[in-house]
Symmetry: C2
Subunit: 392 residues, 2 copies
């Protein structure tokens, strides 16, 4: 048959949505390097180095720290299928799409799920979690979202260990949009299990899900009474490939691990503290600009997630027309709202390589243009306000 398809030739976007974020040139080069075998001595070294570099980003010394061969959602599923067995109880905080997804995944593991909710756009109240822990415990797992990608809310993990202890639970956290952009201290906060994705603040393409499990969580893996319902995500098997025995389990995504290696290297070269400050600084400038334009930020300042800003869509403005103009005129992607915020808010990411002063300025200028085209006149100069914030 004749082949009518042309080679892929992607346009140069500026990716300011909820992920994937812009990928650094050296990460793309690493990704496109020659493939070697998944048991090649060179690749085994890449694997070891990826593990070593992930640990400081997660704030942990956990031996079981590695990327799963799937996207962030596979990371989520990995932790639940390995730590829960049918009939176990899980306490899950829900204040956005990803908390809700955790609850759904836990139910599909046969677990009995108790949820504690907060309004979308707000953090969970630790008192609510403690009350549920005491009223309905004990639990096998307690799970909260550190960085709610659907709402741009950062959850303080400091109070969580005491709550998990009050109900005898392992503490599990979603760090998809925090790893590499916000400080994570798994060990200091007593977190037993965390998962993330490669395509957010690490600025690697999507396809890998870094995870980390404490020794206490690993002990639960090895003392299960039922096999893990997922063979593909069974950590007892996978640990034998990523760890000492190097036993074949599945064929690791070799090139994606090259890319993650380079992305982690760039993060450590920058320095974690500097990287976190950068994300915070640019997010503050973006927020100042958006507010100067008369746009609303639904999340209270103290609960904002620097890498991802939620901004209300003004009444009468057509969500899709604005996002369409941004992509067509400027090659600029911002994210639509998800769940309860669908059609009501945008999500603007400044993650990893995309968290730059240039992108703050471009985003505010282009958004101002797109809003005016839709009949909304900004009340002030967003670009100037952001520039002022960047000077501060």
């Amino acid at each position: 048959m004749p082949n009518a398809f042309q080679p892929v030739n992607p346009p140069a976007r500026v990716l300011l949505g909820p992920g994937p974020s812009d990928v650094a040139p050296s990460v793309l080069r690493a990704l496109g390097s020659p493939t070697v075998g998944h048991l090649d001595p060179m690749f085994l070294q890449v694997m070891d180095e990826v593990r070593a570099m992930l640990r400081p980003l997660f704030g942990t010394t956990n031996d079981m720290t590695m990327p799963m061969s799937g996207t962030g959602s596979a990371g989520m599923e990995t932790l639940f299928v390995n730590l829960l067995e049918p009939g176990d109880k899980a306490l899950i905080g829900v204040h956005g799409v990803f908390g809700g997804r955790m609850a759904e995944v836990a139910r599909r593991c046969g677990a009995e799920v108790v949820t504690v909710e907060a309004p979308w756009g707000r953090a969970l109240d630790p008192d609510d979690l403690m009350a549920a822990a005491k009223a309905h415990g004990p639990f096998k797992v307690m799970a909260v979202v550190h960085a709610e990608t659907s709402t741009g809310v950062l959850q303080d993990l400091a109070p969580m260990r005491a709550i998990a202890d009050a109900c005898g639970a392992l503490l599990l956290t979603d760090c998809v949009t925090s790893l590499g952009g916000v400080r994570i201290d798994l060990d200091a906060h007593g977190v037993d299990a965390a998962y993330s994705g490669s395509q957010k603040c690490l600025s690697c393409p999507p396809g890998l899900a870094p995870i980390s499990l404490s020794d206490r969580a690993v002990k639960v893996l090895t003392t299960r009474s039922h096999p893990v319902q997922s063979w593909y995500l069974d950590l007892n098997l996978i640990a034998n490939y990523w760890g000492g025995a190097r036993a074949y389990h599945h064929t690791a995504p070799v090139n994606m691990n090259y890319a993650l290696h380079e992305a982690l290297r760039l993060a450590l070269d920058e320095g974690l503290e500097a990287r976190i400050v950068r994300h915070a600084r640019h997010a503050a400038a973006l927020s100042a600009g958006l507010e100067a334009m008369g746009l609303s930020l639904p999340v209270p300042p103290a609960e904002r997630l620097a890498p991802l800003t939620l901004v209300g869509i003004p009444d009468g403005v057509d969500d899709k027309a604005v996002r369409g103009r941004l992509i067509q005129q400027y090659g600029l992607e911002i994210g639509g709202g998800l769940g309860k915020f669908a059609g009501k808010a945008w999500r603007i990411g400044l993650m990893g390589a995309a968290s730059t002063p240039r992108n703050v300025t471009l985003c505010l200028a282009a958004l101002g243009d797109a809003l005016r085209a839709e009949g909304f006149s900004p009340t002030g100069d967003g670009v100037a306000a952001a520039a002022e914030a960047l000077q501060a």
Copy 2:
């Protein structure tokens, strides 16, 4: 902290193991192209084209044909978790690692599994399957491995539909090492569900698992009485992203899909028939060379899988020393034995971009050298025998 890690700098290997295979330069370039969003109009077109190009390779018009966001083993798990429910019965042919893995995955879905076995290195006997179908049926699913990557055996799928009909089953096949290298006729053979991997005869890096489901299999998905135990692999949800609604499910591995697109494009440009003939021709030359050297090929000629040749390790020859010399001296990877063949046989792949006359010649010459270094003198000139076979 100071960062001691250097950028990845993979050596130029020749990948003649059981996968990954050598990746064509244009596929690596596609892989390293700029990332766009997973809902970008350009990426939606890539997705549609990937689906369209996969269909002729699978020999199907199945609408539900697409790559899963994981490796081949995730493709296997996808089919079992979606098509089986707790208490269902599955009839599974086992004559190598991957048949055994299918049985294990089916059991983890809560299915009652009946296996039919054949000796490793041989195909399944259809009469044995028919006898089990009649004695133990009905079954929900009957599964056989088309291309057993652990033994290099090709299973004729022609007799399978009648057996599946005899026990009322959906027919499921593992096509990991056949897709793109051996003719697959899902529709003509009445196969309801098949999975593969990107890194074998398609010569794309590992990380995606093409699958295809017949309308009859899709109907089973939509009439389940329990939710699919895996949220990540739930085809009812994923079909809404790869299909019309474009509803967010997970963040697709964007760059890996670029690479698969290019790998499929190269396959269709070559022409399926020409590609299959190429794989058969080079495998025949390799086999002629190996036999001329006095090496044994455990699989009978009629059951050999062209992309992957099983060759016995001569008595007294050190498996790891030979493979180590090949990789150190020649940058040449061949595969060790798996399961019952561990330490007893090698697996030599000639898959996709790696199936070339040059690689046949190099492999035989280098293997001859490595065997002599281990004290085994080939009984004849493998290179000459292969050259003669290539002329024929």
